[in-house]
């Protein structure tokens, strides 16, 4: 066996690896939407054109298209063929790590007794929370566009429950802090579901 045989064998395994990966990606991608991400990108391009250069030449668009459709996939294929051991190791590690591990979940927000502010009369609070807009861009209902969510929340009341306002500071898992306000159902034996009406990220102010 000569070194040429080794190189040809190495490249052949690389090509096979690439074909398997491309096929796996093709068959695991769900659906083939007629209107894809290109619609969204088209919106972005449209906005950028409005701002910068409305007469953007066609050749520039063709170059962008070639980069996206030809150059980028070709580079990806070349990388896999050249470094297939690394690709296989990376993929195997990804599969290994994903087995038996739970996704990282943020601790779920819950209203506590110390967050409660004041007991509410449901009819009065609904009258107070009707949203209006001079351009008619909101339904004139309690909590406006969030009315359905409110009705679902309200339907969760049981005999003996009451509705309270609450305000709480909440530390986000990935840093930062926010204030959360809204209404909570208070039960004889604890606090039930809550309905958020506001969250304000403190660090952005």
């Amino acid at each position: 066996m000569t070194w040429q045989h080794v190189i040809i064998g190495y490249a052949a395994i690389g090509v096979f690896t690439f074909i398997v990966m491309a096929a796996a990606h093709h068959f695991t991608a769900s659906g083939t939407p007629e209107a894809g991400i290109h619609d969204v990108l088209e919106e972005v391009r449209r906005a950028q054109n409005e701002r910068s250069n409305p007469d953007r030449p066609v050749w520039k668009r063709r170059i962008e298209y070639a980069l996206e459709k030809i150059v980028a996939p070709a580079l990806a294929a070349l990388s896999v063929v050249a470094a297939w051991p690394l690709v296989i190791w990376w993929k195997a590690r990804e599969i290994w790590l994903s087995q038996g591990t739970e996704p990282i979940m943020e601790k779920e927000f819950a209203v506590e007794r110390k967050h409660l502010l004041e007991r509410q009369d449901p009819d009065a609070l609904e009258a107070r929370e009707v949203v209006t807009d001079p351009l008619g861009a909101v339904p004139g209902l309690p909590f406006g566009h969030l009315n359905r969510a409110w009705l679902n929340f309200k339907a969760g009341r049981e005999p003996g429950d009451s509705i309270w306002t609450f305000s709480a500071r909440w530390k986000l898992k990935w840093g930062g802090e926010e204030i959360r306000e809204g209404y909570a159902i208070v039960r004889p034996d604890g606090i039930g579901p809550h309905f958020l009406t506001m969250r304000r990220v403190l660090k952005d102010d």
Binding site: V40, T197, M198, R199, D204
Partner: protein, 165 residues
């Protein structure tokens, strides 16, 4: 996370890009979120919204996205009966708008720094104040002006001709 395509805002005769995503708060507060498809690393949220501040109020006036079932998402998808304009009464917080030359490009989220941030304070959809936060001066005279992203990966899903040509 790749640098993200921002939401668009029409403000005082200008079209600017925001570092804020007010529609995300709508979903957090209980608004029904359709299943958006995403196959672009620069757009994990799966949609781009166009916003407008008119007479001191924040409105969502356009939305473009793709649903998991392949359909196109627009305003009426999320707000039935309001296909043209939606008052963002649910939003409280600051709209952050990067301005001036870029000081540092960071290919992650909205982490790139620009010379200034215009902060528009919103209280339940109503503008309550504005201020400018100065972040320094770009030492590079040819640094790009206005928000942009450096790269993204688009995962192919279907064929589409270039710019409809």
């Amino acid at each position: 996370m790749t640098a993200q395509i921002g939401e668009e805002l029409h403000y005082e005769g200008r079209v600017v890009t925001m570092y804020s995503e007010p529609l995300g708060d709508y979903f957090v507060l209980g608004g029904a979120r359709p299943e958006f498809d995403f196959n672009c690393t620069a757009l994990w949220r799966g949609y781009v919204g166009t916003w407008e501040i008119r007479e001191g109020r924040l409105y969502l006036v356009r939305l473009s996205g793709t649903l998991k079932d392949g359909g196109h998402a627009n305003l009426a998808t999320i707000f039935p009966g309001f296909p043209e304009r939606v008052f963002a009464h649910w939003y409280t917080g600051a709209l952050r708008i990067p301005e001036g030359k870029m000081i540092e490009y960071i290919h992650m989220g909205y982490a790139s720094t620009y010379e200034r941030d215009l902060m528009i304070q919103i209280e339940k959809g109503v503008v309550t104040g504005t201020h400018v936060r100065n972040n320094g001066t770009s030492e590079n005279s040819s640094a790009p002006e206005g928000y942009g992203i450096g790269a993204m990966t688009v995962f192919p899903r279907g064929r589409r001709d270039i710019d409809g040509e």
